[in-house]
């Protein structure tokens, strides 16, 4: 059972003082919600769970401990593990200070999709995989969910079901079995300039400038963010279409080549803006131009926009 | 004429700029509409929001006493974006002023008492509004002996030299003690930090109120010294500095616990300060 493996792994790490604390998932407000849980003593390990809804990317929390030179254990899925690569490659957090607990994952359930058809309002008790179904036990009864119908959108195109870095893997490696065809990006690319403009205007008008997308992003790891600067005031604080557009486009370009396409930005947006479509457009373009993999997928791949190869395309020269 | 829109500033013109130290300037300002002086009527210790249009606003204590009518003086240290712009401004230029905001020094409670002012660096600026108020001819007889203890990093960093060395020592029953942190050539005055000098002078707490303002580290040691010397919590008054935006208790930025520094402060007695959570 994965939950038991997590608990015994974390207990052993804490007992042997291999880490100062571990970041995992605990039960949240309802059966479909998990909560990042920080465990530093063996007595606290029993708070850790595994859930088919464990969507949060926990890697970025290490940024709260930048100068402390401590070892932090993090539970990661395939997408989250790319964030670990990101933080290490950007020299934000040393690899030796990470203890990466990898969990192979075939897809995470989308609680919004599930909630439309099932009652998630009880508390999470446990879950079990039954063939193609996930049976979630809640305090308000058991729910049988056909897994493939209710995944997060990003999971249907996941090419790294097994974490790309780990110090321990809690389960059998899963060979990649899905492909990312960038359908969402292609759909927008096929629109006319006016249609695209109208589409993004509509999205950016919704933006309330909460900066959740930036704060959750592991590629957004600058000590002093450009959007927090008053001098110079690159982007004004007013929430209007002009400033919001500037914010989103500038941020997309600032993380270009480093965004690992973990999808957290779109998940956290309270206004439903498909933020990561912008990033995915840039990743798709980079793949076509430079024949690279999704940043973070291959730890050996250097910085995409920070490298130069003599065979890089040069149509404009 | 009172501001029916408290977020709309009065327009004022800078009439004089005095270089106090390498990074502090005193700006004299006059409202373009003289009627405003009839409504503005600040009390010693209050602050105002100075607008540099197109750049923003900053909270600055009013350093001139209300007994000096027809003008306002603000002493501004260059620490950030806005204050750097202010430092480039010259007489004739326009600014905006909103205020007066905050509570004032409890000058009524201080009547009949001896006063001990303890200031450090730019912290003398808010104290000065009360010092000049108390020393003004129409008020002098209401207050007892006035002692002013002031220190800065170096002689060049002393603010209001014209008051420290010229005007104040000439005032009746007024004693001025000045110190700088480290010895330097050309200075034959006292050398040492303000809290240490305070303990040397050891002023008697009897019938005294002490008012202090300066860098947080100085205030911390001054308060410790005062406690050691027997001053009670009601005898010690200080004024705090916190980031403010609206100045009128709405934008939520300057709260310490349930208090807003812009309306419930910036002046607090030590008794009140001890009740506040340590977030300043």
């Amino acid at each position: 059972m994965l939950k038991e493996k997590i608990k015994s792994t974390v207990s052993s790490l804490l007992e042997n003082k291999q880490v100062d604390f571990v970041i995992g998932y605990g039960a949240g407000s309802d059966a479909g919600t998990v909560r990042p849980t920080f465990v530093k003593a063996v007595e606290e390990v029993q708070e850790l769970i595994w859930s088919p809804f464990a969507v949060n990317n926990l890697a970025k929390y290490v940024m709260d401990h930048l100068y402390e030179n401590i070892k932090i254990g993090v539970i990661v899925k395939g997408c989250d593990s790319r964030s670990v690569v990101r933080l290490v490659q950007d020299k934000v957090f040393p690899r030796e200070n990470f203890y990466v607990i990898g969990v192979p994952c075939k897809g995470i359930l989308d609680k919004n999709k599930v909630a439309r058809d099932f009652d998630l309002s009880g508390e999470f008790v446990d879950f079990v995989e039954q063939g193609d179904n996930v049976v979630v036990k809640t305090t308000k009864g058991d729910i049988t969910i056909p897994r493939e119908k209710y995944l997060m959108d990003k999971c249907y195109r996941c090419e790294t079901p097994t974490p790309v870095v780990y110090d321990v893997l809690l389960g059998e490696e899963i060979a990649p079995f899905r492909r990312d065809n960038y359908e969402d990006v292609k759909n927008l690319e096929s629109l006319s300039v006016e249609e695209k403009s109208k589409y993004w205007d509509k999205q950016f008008e919704k933006c309330i400038r909460c900066y959740a997308c930036r704060n959750v992003c592991s590629a957004c790891n600058c000590r002093d963010c450009v959007f927090d600067m008053a001098e110079p005031n690159w982007v004004g604080k007013a929430a209007n279409l002009s400033e919001n557009t500037a914010f989103h486009l500038i941020r997309a370009w600032h993380v270009a080549g480093r965004c690992v396409d973990c999808g957290e930005c779109s998940r956290v947006c309270p206004m439903g803006i498909p933020v990561n479509t912008l990033n995915r457009k840039l990743i798709k373009d980079m793949k076509e131009l430079f024949s690279v993999e999704t940043p973070g997928k291959n730890p050996e791949q250097g910085a995409v926009l920070g490298s130069f190869r003599t065979d890089d395309p040069e149509e404009f020269m | 004429m009172a501001l029916e829109n408290p977020l709309l500033p009065y327009i004022a013109t800078i009439t004089k700029v005095i270089d106090e130290t390498p990074d502090v300037k005193t700006f004299q300002m006059v409202f373009d509409d003289p009627e405003v002086f009839n409504v503005f009527k600040q009390k010693p210790g209050q602050v105002a929001q100075i607008s540099i249009f197109g750049v923003g606003e900053a909270t600055i204590s009013i350093t001139s006493s209300p007994t000096r009518t027809g003008l306002l003086e603000f002493s501004i240290k260059k620490v950030g974006r806005l204050t750097s712009v202010i430092h480039q401004m010259e007489p004739g230029m326009k600014v905006g002023i909103r205020g007066p905001y905050g509570n004032n020094f409890p000058y009524e409670m201080m009547k009949g008492k001896d006063l001990l002012f303890i200031g450090g660096g730019i912290g003398l600026a808010p104290l000065r509004s009360l010092i000049d108020f108390v020393l003004a001819p129409e008020n002098r007889q209401d207050y007892g002996k006035v002692e002013i203890l002031y220190g800065a990093r170096s002689a060049a960093d002393l603010c209001f030299k014209y008051d420290l060395f010229d005007n104040w020592p000439k005032m009746p029953d007024t004693q001025v003690y000045v110190t700088i942190d480290r010895p330097e050539e050309g200075w034959d005055g006292h050398v040492g930090f303000v809290p240490a000098y305070l303990e040397e002078i050891n002023p008697n707490p009897a019938n005294k109120v002490t008012i202090t303002c300066g860098p947080p580290i100085m205030i911390k040691f001054v308060l410790q010294a005062l406690e050691k010397m027997g001053y009670s919590e009601d005898q010690v008054v200080t004024t705090l500095e916190l980031k403010m935006k609206c100045g009128i208790g709405k934008c939520g930025r300057c709260n310490i616990g349930s208090k807003f520094v812009c309306v419930d402060g910036p002046v607090f007695t030590l008794r009140e300060l001890k009740k506040l959570p340590p977030e300043f």
């Binding site: 920080f38 959740a212 | 408290p6 950030g80 349930s258 977030e279």
Partner: protein, 342 residues
């Protein structure tokens, strides 16, 4: 208080008559989100909406609001132009009881001591029509603060759907003006409706997962340091979602926008105490330097400071923060931790 009713099938025609006279802001569905928006057609109104994504505070305290225009010739000549009129009269329809109470929680902030012209004018010119809840969401907990799902405090008129009628309670003088200006409410025979309203209140209140706040303020009065703050602060991303979706949060920033050609404006916009630079001063000193101080400050403001200043709750139990926090920081769990002295 006068009470009347509107037949259910006469509601939309009445709303249309209102819309013909005033801009009508009501709950609609846009891109899967429930929001308060000005409606062109009353058929766009969605009555059974649970909770809106964003609270109605935007009507009185907009996300971004121009304060005045600045004409500035190199700082040698300055002219300020405040708008003559901030808003026209408008009608805000369909506000649930938690949000109604939140408007009352914001009023003393903006209207007492240096009354805020912008907020006051919007408030004076807006007719607020409340709408009782027919169901509770799993994240609702208005009852923790003594607010019922059918409470009318904060509304000028309050509607409750009961069978084939809407009970209409005329709460304020402003509400009287509206029913006079737009006839359609029948003022008679409401006794049985009032009895049914009691039943509805009890039914919906029973659906709410109970949250007990007794003793919470006392614990916070006595303790500034509690281990629970670090525990919850660790999970926090430091974004502004909770403060922006919260109907009672009111922090704002004031900035100048400079076009560069002598014309600019001063505006205010929402700001969040959760942002790391909220209290940071020029020179670097920050009284709330880490997430722990900021998280503690936010919840102490909601559960204690707002009560201290205005004798009104700072939280109305709408549950938006619980729904939208990306890392599931749940104020109900924090309340429980505080009670446990954790």
């Amino acid at each position: 208080m006068r009470k009347g009713y509107i037949l259910k099938d006469k509601l939309f025609p009445w709303l249309e008559a209102i819309r013909a006279k005033y801009p009508l802001i009501a709950p609609v569905q846009e891109d899967g989100l429930s929001l308060f928006k000005e409606v062109e057609k009353v058929s766009d109104i969605v009555l059974d909406y649970g909770i809106t994504r964003m609270p109605p505070k935007d009507l009185f305290f907009p996300q971004t609001e121009k304060m005045f225009r600045i004409k500035n010739k190199n700082n040698m000549a300055v002219e300020l132009e405040t708008p003559e009129k901030i808003t026209d009269e408008q009608v805000l329809f369909g506000v649930h009881s938690c949000d109604l109470k939140s408007i009352l929680a914001l009023d003393p902030v903006f209207t007492t001591r240096f009354p805020d012209r912008y907020y006051q004018e919007r408030r004076d010119k807006t007719y607020v029509i409340g709408l009782s809840c027919q169901k509770a969401l799993p994240t609702c907990f208005c009852t923790a603060y003594g607010i019922t799902p059918t409470a009318y405090e904060g509304a000028d008129l309050h509607l409750t759907e009961l069978g084939d009628k809407y009970l209409v309670e005329v709460v304020t003088e402003r509400g009287e003006r509206l029913v006079a200006a737009v006839p359609g409410v029948v003022f008679e025979g409401t006794e049985s409706l009032e009895a049914e309203k009691e039943k509805l209140t009890a039914k919906v209140a029973a659906e709410i997962k109970p949250v007990d706040i007794t003793g919470v303020k006392e614990v916070l009065d006595a303790n500034f340091e509690l281990p629970l703050w670090e525990k919850w602060a660790q999970k926090c991303l430091g974004c502004g979602i909770c403060t922006y979706v919260c109907p009672t949060c009111h922090c704002f920033d004031i900035n100048d926008f400079n076009r560069g050609d002598g014309v600019g404006e001063r505006f205010r916009c929402w700001d969040s105490c959760m942002f790391s630079d909220f209290t940071r001063m020029a020179g670097g000193h920050n009284p709330r330097p880490s997430k722990k101080e900021r998280v503690r400050n936010r919840f102490m403001h909601k559960l204690k400071y707002h009560l201290d200043r205005y004798n009104l709750v700072g939280c109305v139990g709408c549950g938006r923060c619980v729904q939208r926090c990306p890392e599931n920081i749940d104020i109900r769990a924090i309340i429980s931790d505080i009670k446990g002295g954790v």
